[in-house]
């Protein structure tokens, strides 16, 4: 079966890269796209000429998509960032992210709605990254008026915030005691906070931080030594919430709905709801969005009783992410996430056929050989990118992942079970805590062991 969506993704990406490298005018490209779209309609019954026009149209759409994302609205908050005239603004809006508290200060994304300077008031839009030393009790969705100067954010290209504001005194942050956030996001953040507090209460600090990173996507608390040993052994990817987590969530929610005897078709929607909720809990980073879209695609396939394909769902996930934010194409997490899964989808079957693993008679050996091939495919797919971005090559990763991934799977399962047990089955909590601590200990020791093997890694 041909992976048509895969071709579409490649063409779309080429369009994005074209705009990234060369200056392109939006109106000119838009007119070209309109002509191509009309040509496609006229040539719909033709063979090759239709397909060539379609490919050109998708390429142009990729280019337009990035160009459009570069265009900031005339009333956007970035228009108010000044370099010489540092005017003080009063900005009304609401907190658009989960506030992060650290060492007496708090940072959050603030969705601006109205801005006022002197006698002039305007409606505005866009996110501001706010650092405040003034308030420590802030919640997602809270409506505020901020008072201060706007600055250019450090990484304008990669970040979503268009401006930066620092607040030092408490009177520069006024609470309006109203709430504007979405109920769905509130639920996700509430669950995240609850799970985080369960880990903090039940586990040792190190185990709680590892669980926070692997299950909730909060990597701040991981000690540098642990992180370094994982980078050296090529197993740091287990700290990223990705496909396996989504699979576990789908499995647990599916089983729960089955036990509750919910009809099969409604169950699919329930599982999908849980996946999207988990996506928000895990900060909606690129790998988890990819996994959620892939999971949703597979669930829809099951619902419609259609054949599902890993390649098609991967391509659809890539298109979804790029249409929403084409700048993600240049982010390391997007590239690594898709490179590893694409390598497993495309390289692994070839390697499997070449190595003739299926001819092995002993099932256990066949399983290990298959695991090694999957690990090798993922390593091959990402080795170039890792060498380019992180200046390190870890050949030991192929072997290390064979041991680390099953342990990481156990840790995710036990962490999630611990969170659920603390609410529904407190009797079993002690057992889950001991098991979780053991798995964390083994995981760290193994990672450290693999990083200390001679020639395990090499810095470039």
């Amino acid at each position: 079966m041909k992976n048509v969506l895969g071709y579409f993704v490649i063409l779309f990406c080429m369009g994005i890269i074209c705009v990234y490298l060369f200056k392109v005018s939006f109106p000119v490209f838009y007119i070209i796209a309109l002509i191509l779209a009309l040509s496609c309609v006229l040539l719909i019954n033709k063979g090759l000429s239709f397909e060539v026009t379609l490919c050109a149209l998708i390429f142009t759409l990729g280019a337009l998509c990035l160009k459009n994302s570069y265009t900031t609205p005339r009333s956007g908050i970035s228009q108010y960032v000044r370099y010489k005239n540092d005017a003080v603004y009063a900005i009304k809006g609401f907190i658009n992210s989960r506030p992060v508290f650290k060492e007496g200060s708090v940072s959050f994304a603030f969705r601006a709605e109205e801005i006022q300077s002197g006698d002039n008031g305007h409606k505005t839009c866009g996110d501001i990254l706010v650092y405040s030393k003034a308030q420590n009790k802030l919640f997602y969705g809270e409506e505020l008026i901020l008072f201060g100067r706007l600055q250019k954010p450090f990484r304008l290209f990669k970040g979503k915030a268009q401006a930066l504001m620092r607040i030092k005194n408490s009177s520069a942050l006024v609470k309006l005691n109203t709430n504007k956030g979405s109920v769905f996001k509130k639920l996700a953040f509430y669950l995240k906070d609850s799970t985080e507090s369960i880990f903090k209460r039940c586990l040792s600090p190190l185990a709680a931080n590892i669980n926070n990173a692997m299950i909730l996507g909060e990597k701040k608390g991981i000690p540098r030594v642990v992180y370094d040993s994982m980078v050296k052994s090529g197993t740091v990817h287990i700290m990223v919430v990705s496909g396996f987590h989504v699979g576990v969530i789908a499995f647990i929610s599916g089983i729960s709905f089955k036990i509750l005897r919910i009809p099969r078709k409604i169950r699919y929607f329930g599982v999908m709801f849980c996946l999207v909720l988990y996506c928000f809990i895990a900060n909606a980073s690129t790998p988890v969005v990819r996994s959620t879209v892939m999971g949703a695609f597979l669930i829809i396939g099951c619902f419609l009783q259609r054949e599902t394909s890993l390649k098609d769902s991967l391509s659809l996930a890539a298109l979804f992410i790029l249409v929403v934010n084409p700048r993600d194409l240049f982010s390391v997490s997007f590239q690594l996430s898709f490179a590893s899964v694409a390598a497993i989808a495309y390289l692994y079957p070839c390697l499997k056929a070449l190595s003739k693993v299926e001819k092995l008679r002993i099932g256990f050996l066949r399983g290990i050989a298959n695991g090694l091939l999957v690990s090798f495919s993922a390593w091959l797919g990402t080795v170039g990118l890792i060498a380019y971005y992180f200046k390190i090559i870890s050949p030991v990763a192929i072997l290390a992942n064979l041991f680390i991934i099953p342990l990481a799977s156990l840790l995710i399962l036990s962490g999630l079970s611990l969170a659920i047990a603390s609410v529904f089955l407190p009797v079993l909590l002690e057992a889950f805590i001991s098991f979780n601590e053991l798995v964390v200990f083994l995981l760290l020791r193994l990672s450290s062991f693999f990083s200390e093997i001679p020639f395990a890694y090499r810095y470039l």
Partner: protein, 109 residues
């Protein structure tokens, strides 16, 4: 090359046309919609009242340190409060330039 059936072609073209149209509308909205003028919210919000602020709060204003905040409090007690922020200029250490820098953060009520 792509082996799409006629129905698949129609669906793909339909989706792409909708997307193209959406991109155009989005671009036009960004480019041509001017910022509207809403009703203004309370001007004094977010400003420090120099008649009631304690030393710590005054020091949170960029440019006002330990000694200057003490002078402001002394001046306030001596003159039974400030009638306008401009009266701050009478305090030693608050020059015209410094007043311009802090005036947006303060009010006298």
């Amino acid at each position: 090359m792509l082996d799409l059936t006629n129905d698949e072609r129609r669906v793909v073209i339909f989706i792409l046309l909708i997307y193209l149209l959406g991109l155009g509308i989005n671009f036009a909205c960004k480019h041509f919609t001017p910022g509207e003028r809403p009703g203004r919210f309370n001007q004094s919000l977010g400003k420090i009242n120099i008649n009631t602020a304690d030393k710590k709060l005054l020091m949170s204003i960029s440019g006002i340190g330990d000694r200057l905040s003490q002078r402001i409090i002394d001046f306030r007690e001596l003159n039974k409060g400030f009638k306008s922020p401009e009266e701050l200029k009478g305090i030693k250490g608050i020059t015209e330039a410094k007043f311009d820098k802090i005036k947006d953060y303060i009010m006298a009520q």
